[in-house]
């Protein structure tokens, strides 16, 4: 079956333009900080401090989408970073050791500072620690506890996270010779909150039938939610995305026309960045993905209050799927599968993302038992294209599609 050409939402062009601007900025703007994407409260702090954040994880996605990751992973392996280390890390380390003549988007510059939170994958701390050794630049990190029981978080968790952020702000001010005023921080938190509000409304729109926006469009929009959070540019762009999606719902316009939308699926875990066309394969067979845990539960989950910037940032650091338990993820999935009228599960068992993958087998088992819907588990990698086996993956998908009917 030939893949059909579909009209993508116009906001993708605006996101592409914003990406171009961002990647120009991370080559030229100073001071610049490598900033971890995942639930990192120091993104807003960096913008408030006038520090340009750059995001090696996002860059790994871009490199994978442009099929440059394979080479970077190989370079990192030549520098002793083993193939069983996360491919985001290997992509970044490979890029550092051998960027090549024309790195995707022109590459990212050398950092003046490293800004991390521990509320993501455990080994990220080691990745940034390695960067600290390689660049000999200060590493400032917010150490947050993992929240295993989100329904009964001990009071002192919040106090600890707030003091950590306060300490990080003081360190940034001291090291970089900048002053992060309460007003500037509040403003960044306000803008962050505005982006999140539009994002949450966008996710609500995805419940509509037909589904207005594809998962690859949503993953594009994540760029705004993560990279531009805390900027006016981010607010304007997310509003534009929301407005267009809203318009599509009002017009009854979907990724697929209503009569062609046969199945609504959930994608668990990170997509294969080098193979985003896979969503087109599903669409050609009447399947859309209104949501994914990856787009839904990691970022933009915390409502921000500009009058309480530290508290808001602490909530951000403590929240999010990467800092919580498997049961919490499963509970959310069970609810959202119903709310988004989903009738099938595609789960990526992602060897490079342990934090999102350790519970995948349990999640699929429980979803099958409780909701009695078909599911497939695809064993692959988000960035290292060498792991992808077309025959194996497509076999799994085709068998799953047959089950769906």
């Amino acid at each position: 079956m030939a893949e059909k050409k579909r009209e993508r939402p116009a906001f993708n062009r605006d996101i592409a333009a914003a990406m171009n601007t961002h990647y120009r900025d991370v080559q030229t703007n100073k001071p610049m900080a490598y900033t971890l994407m995942s639930s990192n409260p120091l993104i807003e702090v960096a913008y408030a401090a006038g520090i340009q954040p750059a995001f090696p994880e996002n860059y790994a996605c871009i490199c994978a989408a442009r099929h440059a990751s394979e080479e970077y992973c190989e370079t990192a392996e030549a520098y002793n970073y083993a193939p069983d280390v996360c491919s985001y890390c290997r992509n970044n380390l490979g890029y550092i050791y051998g960027p090549g003549e024309s790195p995707p988007m022109g590459g990212i510059g050398d950092p003046d500072l490293l800004l991390l939170t521990t509320s993501a994958c455990t080994h990220y701390f080691k990745w940034w620690d390695a960067l600290c050794e390689i660049y000999a630049k200060p590493l400032i990190y917010v150490n947050t506890p993992r929240v295993m029981e989100p329904q009964s978080v001990p009071d002192y968790y919040m106090g600890y996270a707030m003091r950590e952020i306060k300490g990080a702000i003081a360190d940034i001010e001291k090291i970089m010779g900048v002053k992060i005023t309460h007003d500037r921080l509040s403003q960044a938190v306000k803008l962050s909150g505005d982006v999140i509000d539009y994002w949450q409304k966008l996710l609500e729109l995805q419940k509509a039938v037909p589904c207005p926006v594809d998962l690859s469009d949503l993953t594009n929009a994540l760029f705004v939610l993560i990279v531009l959070v805390g900027t006016q540019e981010g607010v304007d762009l997310m509003k534009k995305i929301y407005d267009e999606a809203s318009q599509r719902v009002a017009e009854g316009k979907g990724v697929l026309p209503r009569e062609e939308e046969k199945h609504r699926l959930v994608w668990i875990n990170i997509p294969f960045w080098y193979k985003l066309g896979i969503f087109g394969y599903f669409e050609d067979r009447g399947c859309v993905f209104p949501f994914s845990d990856y787009t839904q539960y990691i970022w933009g989950t915390t409502r921000m209050d500009a009058s309480k910037p530290l508290e808001s940032l602490a909530r951000k650091a403590l929240g999010g799927e990467l800092n919580t338990s498997v049961d919490d993820q499963i509970g959310k999935l069970l609810k959202d599968i119903k709310d988004y009228h989903v009738d099938g599960v595609v789960a990526h068992s992602n060897r490079s993302c342990r934090v999102l993958s350790v519970g995948v087998l349990d999640a699929v088992k429980i979803i099958r038992e409780e909701l009695n819907i078909p599911a497939v588990v695809l064993d692959c990698d988000h960035t290292d294209e060498r792991v992808y086996s077309d025959a194996t993956i497509m076999n799994g998908i085709d068998a799953f599609l047959e089950m769906l009917g």
Binding site: N80, A82, D129, E133, R146, Y156, S325, R354, V355, V358
Partner: protein
Amino acid sequence: MPSALEQMSSSVRDAPAVLQEIKNRTGCKMIGLFHPVVPEELIRAAGVHPVRLFPYFNELITEGDSYLQTYLCSYLRANWDQILKGKYPYLDGAIIPRSCEAVTFLYQTWKRHNPYQFIDYLNVPWKVSDNAISFFVKELGRVKHDLERFTGKEISEDSLRNAIKVGNRNRELLRKVYNLRKAESPPLSGLEALNVVMSSFVLDKEEHSGLMEELLTELARRTQGPQVDIRLLVSGGCVIDARLWEMIEAGGVSIVADDVNNGSRSFWHSVEETTKDPLEALARGYAKVPCAFNASIGDRFQYVSEMIREYKANGVIFAINKNCESEKLVYPELDKKIKDEVKVPTLNIETDYLVDMAPLRNRVEAFIETLRA
């Protein structure tokens, strides 16, 4: 009467039977622990017997694979597999520390599969700042409260202070045993030292300390250690496969020091006995345990390089478990620093649960040949 060393070695070899015997004899509850970052003193003060959880080397992973993917640490998969198969009948629960993703996963999965057992999660901070210590104290206070509910008995300040004393004595004796390996002819091998440490994860601490006192007397009587021309330090996460230690030490080679979870990392710290709040003393002591996931590369280098110098190691073997992301991310920079700054050659071998030793033996032998050249 078997020697102290024989008693310790057999307690490691026959750990399931030994633990079951302790449980039958004392009637005490037993709690499993992963990694050296959980203060055992808190558990012992509750009258509970702590057991460091390692897989037994006699079981193919079968049931565990439907929960934990093959790209996760095989030791943990084997552990979970054996838990599912009821291989730890003496256990009444576990405390899961913040560490790698696979260990964290066990918290709720354990709860789902063993709903009547005690299960707790301990957030160990990755800093030693005042803020981090104050957080750790509160976290230990919460776990203390959970343990009290579990046993139905209050953990008194006296019992906690006593447990700290017992723990400190045990760690001090372990360090004394390790110190003997600084000698030109170490009186005990790396494998023997491994058994000494591993038995401390099985036996009652005071009993273990008593055996170590005896061991120190026995070792003083050993007139001459084996002739050793190659002195190695082993670095990795859980390097628990005795076959590996035995293989490395063949023919004039001695592992004189280690930087592993089931070795020095478990007892290099001590806990202040005079601090007003014993929980704070525990927090300050255990926040310094240098595991791969919480200690910086700089701190790890300091730890390893001091050991290389003190124990006069002339080579380092990194024995890192397949799929241990934290250790593998630390390795390249730590390795570079050791080679550049301490000028000691290194070898990196990948280990795995039930790994075939033959290919590893080839590489180790080649490395040792280069050290001798």
